[in-house]
Amino acid sequence: MNQLPYTDEHNAFRRRLRDFLESEVIPHVDRWETDHRIPRDIWRKMGREGFLCTAVPREYGGLGGDFLYSVIVNEEMVRTNHTGLMAQLHSDVVVPYIDTFGSAAQKEKYLPGCVSGDIVTAVAMTEPDAGSDLASMTSTAVEEGGQVVLNGAKTFISNGIHCDLVVLAARNPNVANPHNAISLYLVEDGTAGFKKGQRIEKMGMRSQDTAELFFTNCRIPAENLLGEKGGGFIQLMQKLQQERLVVAIWSMAIAKYMMSWTRDFCRRNSRGGELLAASQAIQFALVEMETDLRVGTAFLNDLIMAHNRREAVVVETSMAKFWMSQKANQIANRCLEVVGDVAAREECPLVRMWRDVRIQTIFAGTNEIMKGIVAKSMNLQ
């Protein structure tokens, strides 16, 4: 069976991380979920212990680790059953933009803080009227003297309240072709004209500080351009492979957790005098879920290794994102059914996961967008 080639270092890292999460995060998670926020300091604690931005090179304070470290962080974060401390977004989605496209000066300025947790990052692409149709974004960036003036609104921005640094996508209004018009900019919290909206109330991810971000004549220095001018669309497309792979890994980890919790529940609980696990129908349900997980894991592990070798697997990653997020939701639904009325209560850990997993088919590109990407690769017309 294909297993990921974890080294002793990887395994030791996982154990350290798990211990950390068990003592510093898990005991507080229920309160964070009720409070709809996490304390800012947990980011610093996580960073100080070396669990953030494991891929960032050592010269900037990172671990310089391969993608398997990110896989470990993703899987272990799922065990905390909350998304407030969305380390995977910061470490594997946003910071890579700076790491890949940043100038030496930008990297020096920001990366050490990203690693230490002193800088929490967010990426702002989605707008109220530009979701799936990313190219239709209307936020503008206009050069004026040595500055860039930003205007527009972004929504559904994860880490939106805590973020100290935003990777913002905005268009040059003078360029018609959207694929050449969009650029990425680094905007620091506290810049005049940059405002954070209210935390958005959601079905799940309740401790996650998702918010709207507003830019009104927000002036940033021209050197805050990240990468090439007009290259934003390509930069986004390039980085979406990892973002979507992260969602696939995340979904599978959630599904595995729910499935194993349900199996344990069935082994311990009876109904009408019969152990749930003794029911043939429940056994088959568990078998089907386990089989899905095995099949999915084989594909996922292949992809993880290809990605780790820096291969372009955009199409396969899109397949994995839609299939695994869909599968995770199906498994989540089935687990709640198997458990029965206990799973109508929030105190059952499956319930929060069921609420949280629902977003996976939507964010990082909806599953419909994923299928569109795959369709284009199949020479259908």
Binding site: T126, D129, A130, G131, S132, D133, S136, T155, F156, I200, E201, K202, M203, G204, R271, G272, L276, S279, A281, I282, A285, N329, N333, R334, L336, E337, V338, V339, G340, D341, A343, A344, R345, E346, E347, V351, W354, R355, R358, I359, T361, I362, F363, T366, N367, E368
Partner: protein, 384 residues
């Protein structure tokens, strides 16, 4: 038997919809859902206008109509707002127990209270395989036959938090045969010894809720016995169709409500230079959703017509419950997908539909309950 709504039934649908449009308010619903609060004012008004117990006899303040009419009200209310609709309808859940097995005196005394909106009922949804595991013990206390003493805890009591009166199944420890020793009792919530031990934060149906109720040395007079002593289990299984039909109707409405919201959204929302309702895949999603709803509706209405007969068709009601809750979960899931990121936020309500749908489904039993019963009723007893 087939369903075709007659003018009076259509009129009921219309009035129920007008009421819901006038009284249900989105912001209040979101707020009450968040705070897990019962919509008392709306429930009172609904009761005053005769929407509660429309299928109950007129002499007890009911509407004197049939189960299909009650289904139509529940479906319409839940269609406008799943959480509010369910709370209003489930508050009268146990009226069916009383209507079916209560004495004339009990019915005269209690049914008008419930149906006119002065008394909310709390009851555990009876699952045939879970019955008998309840920890309530009733002892005949003092002078035999005059007083009962109830001790124990009962979990997952629907509407337990806000209930004024509980309908419980109680094992009678003074009787030797364990299978024959369950009786149905009504217990006022303000009786000394009755406490809400735990008000469970719920996945959905949060205005209704489910609670663990503790009974500690609660004394109730013998007249609180509903139906016949030791016949509690049999009675409970006989009212299963009524509660299942209500769950089916609420699920059906929940599905329809999510569908309506998704439809409105895709007609408005533009991406890639056109309304997303113009994409084939969107249209097919809506087609599949509509199909599931219509299938569930046919079964549920059909089942409603059977429930009023002399002998309720258990199989059909179980099928309706299964189909409607499945449809609700699946339709609400897709509704969220069609609304995208907005669908995941509390502001657009389909996330609430999805949570309510799932809650209706898991409260209908575990994955086996309904299918087991349907299978049993099809196959019957096998010769060994």
């Amino acid at each position: 038997m087939t369903y075709r709504l007659n003018p009076s039934q259509k009129a009921i649908q219309k009035t129920a919809l007008e009421f819901a449009r006038g009284e249900f308010d989105k912001d209040t619903a979101r707020e009450f859902d968040k705070r897990a609060e019962f919509p008392e004012t709306i429930w009172r008004k609904a009761a005053e206008l005769g929407f509660i117990g429309i299928h109950m006899p007129e002499k007890f303040s009911g509407g004197g109509m049939g189960s299909l009419e009650n289904v139509l009200v529940a479906e319409t209310f839940a269609g406008k707002d799943s959480t509010t609709g369910a709370a209003i309808m489930l508050a009268g859940l146990a009226a069916d127990w009383l209507a079916r097995f209560g004495s004339e005196t009990q019915q005269t005394e209690l049914l008008p209270e419930i149906l006119e909106g002065r008394m909310r009922t709390g009851a555990a949804l009876v699952q045939p395989d879970a019955v008998g595991q309840d920890a309530l013990i009733g002892m005949e206390d003092g002078e035999p036959g005059v007083l009962w003493r109830i001790d124990g805890e009962l979990d997952s009591v629907i509407n337990g938090r806000a209930a004024d009166i509980f309908f419980v199944l109680c094992s009678n420890s003074t009787f030797a045969e364990p299978s024959g020793g369950v009786s149905m009792l009504v217990v006022e919530a303000d009786k000394p010894g009755v406490t809400v031990e735990k008000d469970h934060p719920m996945l959905g149906l949060r205005m209704t809720g489910a609670a663990r109720i503790k009974f500690a040395g609660v004394h109730v007079p013998l007249v609180n016995l509903i139906g016949r002593r030791n016949q509690g289990l049999k009675q409970a299984s006989r009212i299963l169709p009524e509660s299942r039909l209500l769950l089916a109707a609420l699920a059906l409405g929940t599905a329809q409500g999510a569908f309506d919201r998704a439809l409105a959204h895709v007609r408005e929302r533009e991406q890639f230079g056109k309304k997303i309702a113009g994409f084939q895949v969107t249209r097919h999603k809506l087609a599949e959703m509509a199909l599931q709803i219509e299938q569930a509706r046919c079964l549920t209405y059909q089942a409603a017509l059977q429930v009023d007969g002399k002998k309720a068709d258990f199989r059909l009601v179980a099928m309706a419950n299964l189909a409607a809750t499945r449809a609700a979960v699946s339709v609400a899931f897709e509704a969220i997908q069609l609304l995208g990121g907005y669908g995941y936020t509390s502001e657009y309500d389909v996330e609430r539909s999805y949570r309510d749908a799932k809650t209706l489904q898991v409260l209908s039993g575990n994955g086996n309950t309904l299918t087991d019963e349907i299978g049993d009723s099809i196959i019957g007893k096998l010769k060994s």
